[in-house]
């Protein structure tokens, strides 16, 4: 009985966290956009406009559900929920601190990448169900993009899995710090299992994973439809892409899913490449910085700060780079990222066999 209540509490807690994150990610996105363009961003609602997004969501909640008369009723109403739930379920396997993750699956990574892919189905449902040409175009672009970019993303993740020999995200994280049970070698040479810090992160354990990290980061931008890969939502061409016809709370769900997706892909990158809940600070002689800054509270702090750092990079990229054309997008995916990801995978195999032994 008690564990059922715990499960429900964890689910509700995660939902509240995601909603809170979305509100303030939208706020910070608008603020960063303002600062990049020498403006102030929202300033009027609350001190420094802090309540702006809260006011926005209040407005959205009050709005009427409008359904186009020729829309497919079932697909139209299920799509936003499906998109959000697929992203939300992805949060289940993510490790937050040592021993702390909603569910410590031994196929965690596999589960996460497969459940995120369900989003593509939801996007297509939204686009098809709206019976609107812009929405359908956006949805088709989005699905083509997500399906293509899953290949470099997946293969770059596989190259990490080949190094770590585990799909359990908790175990992958533990191997990148002072709590490791096996050995961790900086650049495959220097034993840093006892030193920890950033030296034991996967990107520094095997240098080719730095390239895999860049590949994964770029493809994850495409997977959550962020600029410069935002052709599914291209405001200047397609009104709003697949969510053109949505209003009120349903539209809010699309927003929630988009920002949760940003958080989730950033968190996957952090867990697999940047040490997850492991400390940034290494042990230096008797100065046991890594030991002192590893633990329950510190774990949450490190994973959150690293993830939010990646999310802010995503935001700055959005306000810097122009949108890619469809052919450029596909060329980047198939001609650059996929071969490089395969190369990373091959190097991972060699690294595993000859360097790590």
């Amino acid at each position: 009985m008690i564990f059922i209540i715990t499960y429900i509490a964890v689910g509700i807690g995660l939902f509240i966290f995601m909603a809170f994150f979305t509100l303030y990610a939208v706020y910070s996105e608008r603020k960063i956009a303002g600062f990049v363009q020498d403006r102030l961003g929202p300033m009027e609602t609350g001190k420094f406009g802090l309540l702006q997004t809260v006011a926005d969501i209040l407005k959205l909640v009050q709005k009427e559900f409008i359904m186009p008369s020729r829309a497919d009723k079932v697909l139209f109403s299920v799509a936003p929920v499906l998109i959000f739930v697929s992203v939300y379920l992805g949060m289940v396997a993510m490790p937050w601190a040592p021993e702390l993750s909603p569910s410590s699956l031994n196929i965690g990574l596999f589960y996460v990448i497969s459940i995120i892919s369900v989003e593509a189905v939801g996007v297509l449902m939204a686009g098809w169900g709206s019976n609107n040409k812009f929405a359908l175009l956006g949805a088709m672009r989005s699905v083509a993009q997500i399906v293509s970019y899953e290949i470099p993303a997946g293969i770059s993740l596989i190259s990490v899995v080949m190094i770590t020999q585990s799909l359990n995200l908790q175990e992958i994280t533990a191997q990148q710090g002072v709590l490791t049970t096996s050995s961790a070698k900086f650049l495959g040479l220097w034993e840093v299992g006892d030193v920890g810090g950033f030296l034991a992160w996967n990107v520094f354990q095997a240098p080719h994973l730095l390239l895999a990290f860049v590949i994964y980061f770029l493809s994850s931008l495409a997977e959550c439809n962020r600029a410069p890969f935002d052709i599914p939502e291209a405001e200047s061409e397609l009104v709003a892409g697949y969510h053109t016809e949505y209003t009120g709370l349903r539209f809010a769900f699309f927003f929630l899913a988009e920002y949760c997706m940003m958080f989730l892909v950033a968190m996957i990158a952090v867990v697999l490449f940047l040490g997850g809940w492991n400390s940034l600070l290494p042990n230096i002689g008797t100065l046991r910085l890594a030991d002192w800054t590893t633990g329950m509270g510190w774990g949450i702090f490190w994973v959150l700060s690293k993830t939010l750092f990646l999310v802010s990079i995503q935001i700055v990229i959005r306000w810097t780079l122009p949108r890619l054309r469809v052919d450029q997008l596909m060329a980047l995916c198939w001609k650059v990222l996929t071969p490089l990801a395969f190369a990373c995978m091959v190097i991972s195999g060699i690294w595993r066999l000859w360097v790590m032994i």
């Binding site: 600062f35 810097t320 780079l321």
Partner: protein, 186 residues
């Protein structure tokens, strides 16, 4: 292919450098906003937003914005209404039997301004009315921010005569006319 990708990364990095520069430059804002300052165009960093109702840009000393009429100086000559290209000034005059008084520059007033309305919704701020005014009673002021709840409030009424006063002056003039007619007939 390799060179192309490398170039893409380098240019993207350059762009990110510019946006990051602006992002961190946003800690300060451009304080002096006066365009007549010597170094106005040298200030290229920081936030440019002017938080309008709380912060105002400096305006010229002889700013020419909304119209104002000093009705005591007006001789009701109707020149401004005639000069107005968009006909936003409506004047109604009542003649007076004897001179009413003098304006501050010494012109004799012989007409009462029963109505002196300027429709600011129509006004195009050309300033022609201020040029033709012989007593310089109609001027452009430095006031530019007025907003109203209704369209009718945009019509500024400058006449200071009450309805009763207008009626009385009308009666005075008609009786004066009647007297004149009677004197002629005799």
């Amino acid at each position: 292919m390799f060179r192309k990708s490398l170039k893409a990364f380098v240019t993207a990095w350059k762009g990110l450098g510019i946006t990051l520069g602006h992002l961190f430059g946003a800690r300060k804002s451009r304080n002096s906003l006066n365009i007549r300052d010597e170094d106005y165009f040298d200030k290229q960093e920081g936030i440019t937003t002017v938080q309008y109702p709380r912060e105002k840009m400096p305006i010229p000393e002889v700013a020419r914005y909304q119209l104002d009429v000093e009705i005591d100086d007006c001789i009701v000559c109707d020149l401004c209404a005639k000069a107005c290209p968009v006909d936003c000034i409506t004047i109604e005059a009542i003649k007076s039997p004897e001179p009413i008084g003098k304006t501050s520059d010494g012109s004799v007033k012989r007409l009462y301004p029963a109505k002196f309305d300027i429709d600011m919704g129509k006004c195009m701020y050309c300033g022609l009315c201020t040029v033709v005014c012989p007593t310089e009673c109609i001027v452009m002021t430095d006031n530019y921010d007025r907003s109203f709840q209704s369209l009718t409030a945009l019509t500024y009424e400058f006449s200071n005569m009450s309805d009763a006063e207008v009626q009385q002056r009308r009666k005075e003039w008609t009786s004066f006319q009647a007297e004149k007619e009677a004197a002629k007939k005799k």
